[in-house]
């Protein structure tokens, strides 16, 4: 049975530390665009922590929300790509095939979550920073779209290991870089097609919601709502 990779993000655990953001850059060879380009709005953070203020001083509160590619089942970015660079994989992922991308940026416009990023220039790394590049992940050219892949290289590596050892994949064996580094264990990754996996159970949690669900994209990331002191008191 094919896998269906999904994630759960526990907003009650997320502390906004942004370890996931840097881990992702490190794992996926994401370019650092520099001060000038960042000022032009070209920074590429495949996962970002959105921060929302609520209320006014002194009754003020902040909510954090990690946002990454939702790997939608009905991904709006897929039908619009003229060259199939944005397409659906058998494992339920939205694959971005760098070689096929001709850079129309239509997928980025169609994406309701703004999780797609464009290489406005061909990236370069001041030597020897290039030695850090992950050899399992391609380095993209200018004019190509990119986004979170759920660390497809780790998924593939996991499948290969399991295949060599002739055993099924274990729940929690594959961890994208963000999940692995999350200090509060707020991110959970796994196979939604396996009803016993942690992520499957969390996706059915009464605390679970989907981001921008009304768009009809059927995202595969479940957000678990923050708890409140009143809830804790009731127990």
């Amino acid at each position: 049975m094919p896998h269906k990779w999904g994630m759960a993000v526990d907003l009650d655990r997320c502390t906004g530390c942004e370890a996931c953001v840097v881990a992702c850059h490190s794992e996926n060879n994401i370019p650092t665009v520099g001060e000038t380009e960042a000022a032009r709005g070209r920074a590429m953070h495949w996962i970002r922590i959105e921060r929302y203020w609520e209320g006014e001083f002194p009754e003020v509160q902040v909510k954090f929300r990690p946002v990454l590619c939702q790997q939608c089942d009905e991904a709006p970015c897929e039908p619009v790509c003229p060259t199939y660079a944005s397409s659906h994989s058998e494992d339920g992922l939205n694959s971005q095939i760098y070689n096929r991308c001709i850079g129309t940026r239509y997928c980025a416009n169609a994406c309701g979550y703004n999780v797609r990023f464009f290489n406005f220039f061909t990236p370069s790394w001041d030597k020897p920073l290039h030695l850090q590049l992950n050899p399992d992940v391609s380095v993209r050219e200018g004019g190509v779209m990119e986004k979170c892949t759920f660390c497809i290289q780790r998924i593939n590596a996991g499948k290969v290991s399991a295949g060599i050892e002739q055993r099924p994949l274990l729940d929690g064996e594959i961890q994208p870089a963000c999940v692995q580094s999350c200090t509060a264990n707020a991110l959970v990754f796994g196979d939604l097609a396996d009803p016993d996996s942690t992520v499957s159970k969390l996706s059915k949690s009464p605390r679970g919601t989907k981001l921008l669900e009304e768009l009809g994209t059927k995202p595969k990331v479940t957000y678990l709502q923050r708890g409140s002191w009143d809830d804790s008191q009731k127990r």
Partner: protein, 450 residues
């Protein structure tokens, strides 16, 4: 109205083809420089990357895409006007048709450049052509951009045909008046036209079929361009109104462009006798009708959005009504809806100049409309944390300017290549007027008319 002899008409209309002034060379040179600057900038953009533009996260489309829609829109005037006017047999169309058809052809060519200009990796644009590849990959037919590819190419081919067909007799005319390489060239182009009744009959049927066929093609093209937006779930894009809204807007902007072009041509080529106030008045009336129709679509779109009060659309809406983009919005309303009315309805104000002013307003207003469709929606899409802004930078502005220069240059060169007013159609018009006048005389004489 003085009746012109056929030969003076032919002479007047052929003069620009055979006589070239210094003004022509100077203008052509200046325009050529601007167009060259445009291409230079484009290559600069290809070399360094799309980063030289103002596009960013999340507003990935800006001036280039605005220009794309704008020019494709302009292209609608020509063929639609020409086709519709032919079908309803509006006789005043005769001096106008070729002017219009040429606008269509060139606006389409220029517009069709912009999808290439806006690509991140334009050297791979040929993947949009369906061909059997060894990787068994075809274009994604579900993508509106692929539909654009087919629709625009179809429209371009048919417009060229629609332009070329009625040009045949005029090519023949020039062939008969020239020698040397011109004679050879125009000979080839006129496809052996001799003006036999059979050939005339064939031409008329072909024109009639094309006129009928091109109307649905034209409507479908801009509808398909509108699908680039309405097929994406983006605030204020995802609306069923976009198809007709875009088509109306396209015709609207096309007529305005036609007015401007006609006025320039009239002045530059001294065609005051042929392009008369009545033509501008009639086109003005059409433009006014389009303005009302356009206004209706805009109002409808906004009223429905406002009433629906969907959170994820309201930010985009208010940004155009009261916020960041509101100066542009209200300028657009002024240019498209408020300015044309007094200029085109109040008798005292009506003139060719007034029509041109109103048309310039409309062209500006319609360009703003394209911008306001694209950018505010992308600015206010998704979670509010990820909202953004957009400001164009010099490469986009240079290419924008160069597109206008290219239009002017192509038009200028075309007027040297073939009479800008279709000579044979004018003659037909003259003769049919004479015929009708003669018929009237006969009837009067026969006492059938009072």
């Amino acid at each position: 109205m003085t009746r012109k002899s056929d030969s003076s008409l032919t002479d007047d209309l052929l003069r620009p083809v055979f006589e070239t002034s210094t003004k022509f060379y100077v203008t052509a040179a200046v325009l050529a420089v601007i167009v060259a600057a445009g291409f230079g900038t484009w290559f600069y953009q290809i070399y360094w990357g799309m980063g030289v533009t103002g596009d960013n996260w999340p507003v990935f489309w800006g001036l280039h895409e605005t220009n794309f829609v704008f020019w494709i829109g302009i292209s609608h005037a020509g063929t639609l006007i020409s086709a519709i006017l032919r079908i309803v047999n509006a006789t005043w169309r005769r001096p106008v048709t070729r002017c219009a058809e040429v606008i269509t052809a060139f606006a389409l060519m220029i517009g069709a450049m912009f999808p290439l200009v806006h690509l991140g990796r334009p050297w791979l644009a040929w993947w949009l052509i369906p061909y059997p590849s060894e990787r068994l990959l075809w274009p994604n037919y579900r993508s509106p951009l692929v539909w654009d590819f087919f629709a625009i190419n179809t429209y371009l081919l048919s417009s060229l045909l629609f332009l070329a067909l009625p040009a045949i007799p005029d090519f023949a005319l020039i062939r008969d008046r020239t020698t040397g390489w011109r004679n050879w060239l125009y000979g080839k182009l006129s496809l052996g036209w001799q003006g036999t009744p059979r050939q005339w009959h064939r031409l008329e049927s072909a024109m009639h079929m094309m006129a009928l066929a091109i109307i649905p093609i034209a409507i479908s093209v801009h509808t398909i361009v509108s699908f680039d937006f309405s097929m994406a779930v983006v605030p204020m894009w995802h609306s069923t109104i976009f198809g007709p809204y875009f088509v109306v807007g396209a015709i609207f902007s096309g007529i305005a462009a036609l007015n401007i072009v006609m006025a320039i041509v009239r002045r530059m080529l001294h065609l005051e006798k042929y392009l008369q106030p009545i033509h501008f008045r009639n086109l003005g009336k059409l433009m006014l009708a389009m303005s009302l129709l356009w206004g209706y679509f805009v109002f409808n779109e906004r009223l429905v959005t406002w009433y629906g009060n969907t959170p994820h659309e309201m930010a985009a809406l208010w940004s155009t009504q009261l916020g960041r983009y509101s100066p542009m919005f209200w300028t657009m309303i002024f240019c498209n809806f408020i300015l044309p009315f007094p200029l085109l309805t109040i008798r005292k104000l009506r003139s060719i100049t007034a029509t041109v002013i109103a048309s310039c307003g409309v062209v500006i207003g319609m360009w703003l409309e394209r911008f306001l469709i694209i950018v505010p929606s992308l600015s206010y899409k998704g979670t509010s944390y990820s909202w953004g802004t957009y400001l164009p930078r010099w490469p986009e502005i240079v290419i924008f300017g160069a597109s206008f220069a290219a239009m002017a240059l192509l038009y200028l060169l075309f007027s040297k290549f073939i009479p800008i007013i279709s000579i044979w159609e004018m003659k037909v018009g003259q003769h049919s007027k004479i015929k009708v006048a003669a018929q009237v005389q006969e009837s009067e004489a026969a006492g059938e008319l009072v």
